[in-house]
């Protein structure tokens, strides 16, 4: 396994992190950062005892503290369950139960999101400076041990826990930036990367580990909502951000507020397809563009495109260690980094992972230069530019609770969630009110933006299901 701790120890006094919070911003060197992780590992041991193989949830703001606790848990050999703080209380209960989480480390403000009986530990108590715990790298014997269980929305209404092992994340050194593209391997140490992928998402975990392994400086917003304002006055090289953030940045460029991008010269994104207009907004302003592709099930990105000028619609070339091929038009992936399976869910695992190959559900092709293109999705899943996956069936189930709705189908249109509804005209106003109330109970990204009414029933498949397309 990769000697992660040894590698990052060697970066010593170089800057590992800058936490952005206006006048409260601060930096940590690699030495200082490792010390923080060691303090936390000691505190964890004092609190929980031996953590090997124990399932611990993490429900905190996605910032530098999050990474300290997460790495302390990882190197204490716990199994980490990172929980999306924007999830509904019901889904969080499902995640805790399904993953058999025995305790949760939590930010005070998220306590009301937990509605079931599970021990909670305030994160602040685990970050105090006490004694140092020695951090040891993983051995080959630990390769198949679970490291993370990350929940992801599938096509069914309940999210599934993707089990990622030690080998998935520490098998090989990560390639988050193609060094050839940035002026050779020497260019990476000290490179300033702003990351807005949340750490409860595999892209955030990959950005964190990859940045540390290469000796880069990771810039993080103390409050991730401040994405649009934190970089003003900063000087960075690279921005890792979701397509939704890039759209915000594009608007900032359009309005002449380029200083909000911190002078970056490369943006890299993943999680959803990006439109040509957004790509051009960056390229035309001298900012290079990189597209990654991957999913939680593949342990992070499996391709990257640093040559977007010549392959604009492509997600790029497979990264080293990944075998990507097309089977019946579907993109299939094998390699050391793919998941072990869905936690305690053999039925769903069999659908996705067969013979060591992940069937992604994405349709696509590979061109003569080896570049991969995505043309559509086999499965019924909405992928928004925020990188969030939304199950249409989950929302349809909620809509069917309204008696006036005879039939409905939820789909995506121009990056917004739309509900097609078949109902008699006299009920349309009631249904609007129902949806408006329903929206108030949903996380922002899951809200229904439009209702398209029809007074005729939807077209059906041979088996009587509503046709999706």
């Amino acid at each position: 396994m990769l000697d992660f701790i040894k590698i990052i120890e060697e970066f010593g006094n170089m800057t590992a992190f800058k936490s952005l919070a206006g006048k409260d911003s601060f930096e940590l060197s690699y030495n200082e950062y490792l010390k923080e992780v060691s303090f936390c590992a000691y505190n964890l041991n004092r609190t929980f005892g031996d953590l090997r193989g124990r399932h611990i949830g993490l429900l905190c703001e996605s910032n530098i503290d999050y990474t300290i606790i997460m790495l302390a848990l990882v190197f204490s050999r716990a199994v980490v369950i990172p929980i999306n703080s924007y999830e509904s209380t019901d889904n969080i209960s499902h995640i805790i139960n399904d993953s058999e989480t025995e305790a949760i480390i939590i930010d005070k403000e998220y306590q009301e999101k937990i509605s079931i009986d599970v021990p909670q530990y305030n994160k602040a108590t685990l970050l105090v400076h006490s004694n140092l715990m020695t951090l040891t790298d993983f051995s080959e014997d630990e390769a198949d041990n679970p490291l993370f269980i990350i929940y992801t929305s599938g096509t069914t209404s309940l999210s599934k826990g993707v089990v990622l092992t030690v080998a998935n994340q520490f098998g090989v050194k990560k390639q988050i930036i193609n060094s050839d593209f940035m002026g050779g391997p020497d260019a990476l140490p000290g490179m300033k990367i702003y990351n807005n992928f949340p750490f409860y998402h595999v892209a955030g975990i990959v950005a964190l580990l990859g940045s540390l392994e290469c000796g880069c400086t990771l810039y993080l917003s103390a409050n991730p909502k401040n994405i649009l304002f934190d970089l003003d006055g900063e000087s960075i090289d690279v921005g890792f951000a979701t397509p939704a953030v890039l759209k915000l940045w594009k608007k900032a460029i359009k309005r002449g507020n380029t200083s909000r991008l911190g002078g970056l010269n490369l943006v890299a994104t993943a999680g959803a397809k990006i439109d040509r207009e957004t790509v051009d907004a960056f390229l035309n302003n001298g900012i290079r563009f990189c597209q990654f592709y991957g999913m939680t099930e593949t342990g992070g990105n499996v391709t990257c495109n640093f040559d977007i000028g010549n392959h604009i619609e492509s997600v790029g070339l497979p990264i080293p260690g990944v075998n990507l091929f097309i089977q019946d038009e579907e993109i299939c992936i094998s390699g050391q980094q793919i998941m072990q399976g869905y936690y305690n869910n053999y039925k769903e695992t069999d659908k996705c992972l067969r013979g060591g190959v992940i069937h992604t559900g994405d349709l696509g092709y590979i061109d003569q230069d080896g570049y991969v293109y995505i043309t559509g999705r086999k499965k019924n899943l909405i992928i928004l530019s925020s990188g969030e996956n939304v199950s249409p069936e989950e929302l349809e189930k909620m809509l069917y609770k309204c008696d006036s709705i005879v039939e409905c189908k939820v789909y995506e249109s121009i990056d917004r969630i739309v509900a097609g509804v078949f109902a008699p005209k006299e009920y349309h106003e009631d249904i609007r009110e129902y949806v408006s109330d329903l929206n108030k109970t949903l996380p922002l990204y899951k809200r229904i933006h439009n209702i398209e009414f029809t007074t005729e029933e939807f077209e059906k498949t041979a088996s009587g299901k509503i046709k999706r397309h």
Binding site: E109, F229, L248, D415, N439, P443, L444, Y445
Partner: protein, 75 residues
């Protein structure tokens, strides 16, 4: 009125929507078609400019520009 004007200019600044397209009754999602991240960025700017903190619960109940004005008037 001052609160309202400030909010409208923040919305214009973040989401690039002309002020003339925004009114007090504009619904953030249905009328202005704001993405979730745009709403979060707007709220973050409002929190900074008005030196307030808006909880997730309060945010969930906000539907229109007028709702934000009301929320800030109670502070």
């Amino acid at each position: 009125m001052e609160i309202y004007n400030k909010i409208v200019s923040i919305i214009e600044d973040v989401a690039d929507i002309p002020q003339s397209d925004i009114n007090e009754n504009s619904l953030l999602i249905d009328d202005l078609d704001l993405a979730s991240l745009e709403i979060l960025a707007i709220v973050s700017k409002i929190e900074e400019e008005f030196s307030v903190s808006i909880t997730e619960k309060e945010l969930l109940a906000v539907e229109s520009v007028a709702d934000i004005v009301k929320l800030l008037e109670t502070r």
